[in-house]
Symmetry: D2
């Protein structure tokens, strides 16, 4: 049951991430989810960069979803709570909650499949599977 | 019933849009949806920029969703078919299908609410509503 | 003498490219220079994607420069005039002028070196050199 | 003489920032310079966001320059050393050195002018000028 860990990380909103509405452009939340995901993985001892370089296992995104609750603004510090809601040898689902000083900013979900460098689906190698509790 | 029009537009994949997996980074599909949406609006005589500047009506994103079917690559020409699947005075939902030479790349959906410059929900003014058939 | 050709291309400013100042974020001009460069190359029969895939020759950026004259705004159509100001077997320099309906937006310059997939400097193969008149 | 302070900040390379060459896309260095600049300003008690919101003073970029020495890669930690090399009531020039574990990645320079919300040049108000030692 992979859901026991929630990892917290935080980022500060970059000027580059805002748009002329004066708030963060909606696609950038997916970049923040990536950061939450990478830091979650690092926290459980799973180094994505190594897996990609040494084992040729990549994580392809199959689906992304984001619900925007309250706008995030330049220079605000955003907390990203990330957990794995589902995982098996073929795919993993991450969920995210983004907040700013207690205010809910957005929630998101990304579904990933493990693929080879040739971009074909593969099974996650044992050494990584254990880290996800699968 | 707003769904009668599907607008086609196309973009060419920028080098900036790829990542080290050699394919388009997943957040960039949301930028493409924005382009599909803007061009759809232009095609029905709805100029988003004018509405924002002259009437102070903005379109805030409430939800985004993308399903990634097949990777898009640098320099490929991507067709974006955009239509409105739901619309009323408070919100509008766009759906997108992205293809490359007949190959399905991704499908997406974004839900938007009409807001004022102060970022509060408002009703879409009459002159714009007619364009959406509402 | 490579400078005889100036290639014109145009792009429309994306919402994603603006920032909260209501104008285009300054790093995005470098993305536009990339588009000017790619289209310039395409126009002389030089397909960057093929060179990268088939010959393993990449163009690394050694230097970039941009002077911002007048802000570009959402939905404006920007013309990019691109030419090669210097080229030899080891490097090539592109220059860009970006305008909007005759108004000067920015000028830029990028210097590139030819490198292998292992990111080491190499000489540009004959078949490509001829296209640059070198 | 504004040059006495050098502020150090660091960022971790995001997957989103890489391109298919497997290294950081060249425009993203300008985003990092922005982060160095913002953190420099914060360190001297100059809050850019406040100046923009409360005083309507914005910093427009007039020129940017970057020399790329060695590629930065995904997940690397990049140190950004930022200092002000020139400043007066009308403009300020920042310089940046980006390194990764002692390896020089890039150097950059940005020139900015102070402008009003209407995007016209203005003189920097006293309360901010003192912070820059001008």
């Amino acid at each position: 049951m992979p859901d026991s860990i929630t990892h917290m990380t935080s980022i500060r909103v970059r000027y580059a991430e805002t748009d002329q509405m004066g708030i963060v452009y909606y696609a950038n939340y997916l970049v923040w989810m990536e950061i939450g995901r990478v830091e979650y993985c690092r926290s459980i001892g799973f180094h994505y960069r190594e897996m990609e370089l040494e084992d040729g296992v990549l994580l392809a995104v199959a689906e992304s979803n984001c619900r925007y609750s309250s706008p995030a603004r330049y220079d605000e510090e955003i907390s990203i709570a990330t957990h794995v809601s589902e995982a098996n040898r073929r795919m993993v689902t991450f969920e995210y909650e983004m907040t700013c000083a207690g205010r809910k900013i957005a929630t998101g979900r990304t579904v990933h499949v493990f693929i080879s460098r040739a971009l074909r689906p593969i099974r996650l190698p044992d050494k990584y599977a254990a880290l996800f509790g699968i």
